[in-house]
Structures are given as C-alpha cells and as structure tokens.
Assembly symmetry: C2
Homo-oligomer: 308 residues x 2
C-alpha cells in the first residue's frame, strides 16, 4: 500500500498526517504554528512531523499534499500573500522544498479547496457531481468540486465564496467589500451582533448552546444567523445549481438549530433552480478535513504515475 | 461544407438561420412568435422558415440547434414550463419533433446558454477558459462556459445568475426572492426607478440617451444602474474568478456609460480574487447571439459524428 503524506498549515497550528489511498488516517501529529519562530524553523518542524508520522504508519510516503489558509500559486506550489498570519512565509516555494526534502512529488492547495476534495472523495459529498464545501467558523470559506476536479478560476485562482456581497449596506469586511456573506454570517459576526445587545461576552458556540437550552435572546440570534446563512446558501444554489453542499466549520456544529430557517430561505429565494434536488449535509470531517483533502489533492494530480 | 440550422424562440419573435461550421450566418428569417396561434402552427412556421433558409444557403443542413427562453430539460430536448409566454408549448419534445421532421439530430438549450456558446466560439469570449456571458435587457440572464463546455447544474439545470440576491431589502421579483440582481439592474428596473421620480415615461434606452446628452437627472439614473451592475458583476468575479465576461442585451448597448463605475465597484468589492485579470467586454452578437450559439451547441454535441 502506498501512503500519502499530508500537511495542514493554519494560523494557530500545523498538523501532519499519513493517509492511505482508501482515505484512512494512519497517523497524525500536530503542534503550534508559532510563526514568530520563522519560516526555517516551521519547515524543520513540518519535516520532523512527517518523519515521525511516516515511521508510525510503517515507513515512507509516496507523495505529499499541503493545505494552507490563503490564496496561493497552486500551479507551481508557492504560498501567496500569507504575511498577515505567517510573516516571512510569503511566496515560499513550499511544495518544491518539501518535494526535494523527501524525494517525492508535492502539491499545494488552498485549505478550503483541500477540504472540499476530502469531503467529495471520502466524506459527505461522495457521489456528487457538482459539489460545494462550505466552512463557517472565524470566516466563511468554500471549495468547488465539479465532476471530480477542483474548480479553478483565472490563473488557478480560488473563488472566494464567503466574500460575495449579500447586502451592500452591511459592515465593511477586511476583503474591502461592504456586506459580504462572511461579514453577516461568520462566527465572529454572530458574536458581534450578540455583544452589541447583551452583557454576556459570548461567542457563537456559547450563543448556540444557550439557544439549544431555551434562551429566547439566543434563539433570536440563532434565527438571524440562520437567515443570513440561508441567503448565502440560496445564492450558491441559484448560481451553481449544485447537487450537494456540505457544511463544516465550528459554527456548523449547530447546523440542526439553523436548518429549518435555512431551508425556508432557500425555498423562497432559489425558486428558479431545482433546489429540492440539492442535498444539504453536515461535513464528515472536522479538524482532519484539510489533511484528508490534501492527500486527495496529491492523488488527483500525481496518483496515477506517482504511486510507486 | 456542412451547414447547421438554428432556431431562436423568444417571447415576441421566432428567428431561424443557417450557420456555417466557421460561424458565418448564411441565411436568416424571422416572424412573430404569435403564441395565440398555438403550438402546431408555431412548429409549422419554424419548419417552413428552416426550409426557406436552407434553400437560400444552398440546400440542406446537417443538424439543428434550438435556443429558447426558459428552463428546459436540455438532456432530452423538451421544453420546460414556458406556459407564461408560450401557452400550450409546455413540455413539448421540440428537439425530437424537429429531428424527425428533417432527419437530422437536434439539440435544445436555454437561450442564454446558447448565446454564451456563440460568444465563446466566435465572438467576444474567444480563447476564454472560464467564460461568463451576461445579457441585460428586460431581465438579466447568463450562461457559463468552462473549458469549452456549458456548465450545467444538477439534472442539467441552468444556473440563474440574474436572480442571486444582492440586497434582501429590495423589491420582490417574480422569481420569489426579494432584491435579486435582476430586480435592481434590469432595463425595467432602471425605468421603474426613473418613473417613480420624473414625469417622462422613459425606458432604459431613453434614459441612457438623455444621460449621454448631458441630462443630470439621467446621469444619476445611469450612475445608480452602473453601481448595481457592478455589485452583481463583482459577485460573479468573486464566485467564479472568470477570465472573461461578455456583456450583451439592450441595456449593454450603453456599456460605455456604465463602465467607469462598474470597474470601480469591482475593484473595491472583488479584491480577494485577481479581478484585474478579468476581461470585461461587450458581446459581439446582438439579435443573432442565440442563433449562432444554438448552431454551436449542436456542433459541440454532435459535430464529430453528426456532420455528413
């Protein structure tokens, strides 16, 4: 059996895993991103975790997939403008460096794109032809997999689903737009709305737990969140007519609370496309989503010729 | 040379043409849709126009492409729910009927999808890999051509680009949504805004001509229209990261008036995707757009094996 190595580089932690071609997680390690320790130190830790997990999984790996937050040059495997959370890593040819270190081919993907590939290969999106993965946590991100392949825009660009505008009268987002979907419906947006009204400094998870326990104020916050989630999801259905949307990320752990309103908004707003044919499902993978999908990304690009 | 027949069925007129495989319009005929005369009468007129134009173009045709407003079952060539403007035509297996009448293969596409295929084959979108065609007239429609193929959603569904919501506080549209793009930025939306303020019963074309002649009130209407066109176009750039968007339809004949504001909205709103790589161009074809694209649709589906 040929094992695939996987790396997930996030703002707070770096995870590494070994994944089988059938989608089993064979070994995993993680540590803090600790960007203040610099790029070389980070790469040394990634290499050490790869060696450690490979040893646990029985030896070597045939290829390497890397998922990282941000917008990258995925065609040549170089990081994009990631300086805001990984100062000093901007533009690093990370796929080439790890490829040379281990003597295997390596691919880099945006983390949401990787997660989308993992869900469609082995998770909630299995069998879908027009698949959308959405993660709602500190932001809203997504990935599109059409007929088994990642959708890439001009020059390989990653579409920014979370930043389409749903109300230009809304707050300004870091993306430059006023009233993008993320600015209304991310976890922090839910918390901001709450904290502008009530004394408890609750985050989205605490609000959802209070709503589930019957708190009327929290139920109103959940209703508002569900409505904005619904508006964005209905737009995606209108614009892509997908057969499946999988919902991941911390906020979506409370999907059951949001689902009735989400469905009602979709029914009202996406009436010209066959919205009743769209499966709306929770994502299968939690913190392993990017690792699984990074492995799958490698398989899609090099799996035929790359597996020894 | 093998000629392709093309039919464009709209709410007010039916056009028929003969198109060469290189995209030359060889002959054309048109007449009123006259839906009150019924389906059989309409089909008889279409057949007669096909015979007439085929004779003008030198004889017979090798295949047939049909474009029609609405949402159809394009996989089997049957019209969808078109009763609102073509009573009695709902569900008609129009591709099969014309195929049998002329002994050639026939395909049916949504009219915007057909126009998109024509523009990418021989028009403004030539060479584009991720191409979007938009028409702004009585409504806003569009078609997506990715890597040379029409994008189709679940069950072959046509995405309804014009009906994604850009402000849920907006007017209710026939589609069921409040504040979809079409409700803000179609020609009639521009006229409604004008007529709610000023005594002249002008339509979008008249407002644009007045603005071009220096009328300050009309310039404000144009500015508002351009802003809403920009918000929707910026969303499409954020969501698809295309390399080219071609703009057709009556309102877009005044594209030059709108373009500076459209570009400024895109720059502000679509900052996370490489919007400077997106070519924003006027469509090449006017009233022939659907005919050209219907012919291309047939070539894509049957061109290899179907041309005698």
């Amino acid at each position: 059996m040929s094992i695939i190595g996987a790396v997930d580089i996030g703002g707070t932690k770096i995870s590494v895993a070994m994944v089988s071609p059938e989608g089993e997680l064979l070994a995993k390690a993680e540590g803090p991103t600790a960007p203040e320790r610099g790029f070389d130190d980070g790469m040394a830790r990634i290499r050490a975790m790869l060696e450690e997990t490979a040893a646990q999984a029985g030896g070597s790996f045939a290829g390497l997939g890397i998922g990282c937050t941000g917008r990258h040059d995925v065609l040549n495997g170089s990081l994009g403008d990631v300086g805001a959370f990984l100062p000093g890593w901007d533009g690093a040819p990370i796929a080439r460096l790890l490829s040379e270190a281990f003597g295997v081919t390596a691919v880099l993907e945006n983390d949401c794109d990787a997660a989308a590939l993992g869900e469609v290969a082995w998770g909630a999106g299995r069998g879908a032809q027009k698949f959308i993965y959405i993660t709602v946590s500190t932001g809203i991100g997504g990935g599109l997999v059409f007929d088994g392949q990642l959708y890439r825009g001009v020059g390989g660009a990653h579409p920014e689903i979370g930043h389409h505008v749903i109300d230009p009268g809304g707050e300004k987002c870091f993306c430059g737009a006023h009233g993008c979907w993320e600015s209304f419906a991310s976890g922090p947006a839910m918390a901001r709305w709450w904290q502008a009204r009530y004394p408890e400094p609750w985050d989205a998870g605490q609000i959802c737990r209070a709503a589930a326990a019957g708190d009327e104020r929290a139920k109103e916050a959940v209703e508002r969140e569900a409505r904005y989630l619904g508006i964005g999801l209905a737009n995606l259905i209108t614009l892509y007519a997908p057969d499946c949307i999988a919902l991941g990320g911390g906020v979506m752990r409370s999907l059951d609370l949001f689902l009735p309103t989400i469905r009602s908004v979709i029914q009202q707003q996406a009436g010209l496309v066959p919205h009743h044919k769209v499966r709306l499902v929770p994502a299968r993978y939690g913190t392993e989503a990017v690792l699984m999908g990074a492995a799958k990304a490698w398989m899609l690009r090099y799996g035929q010729k790359g597996i020894a």
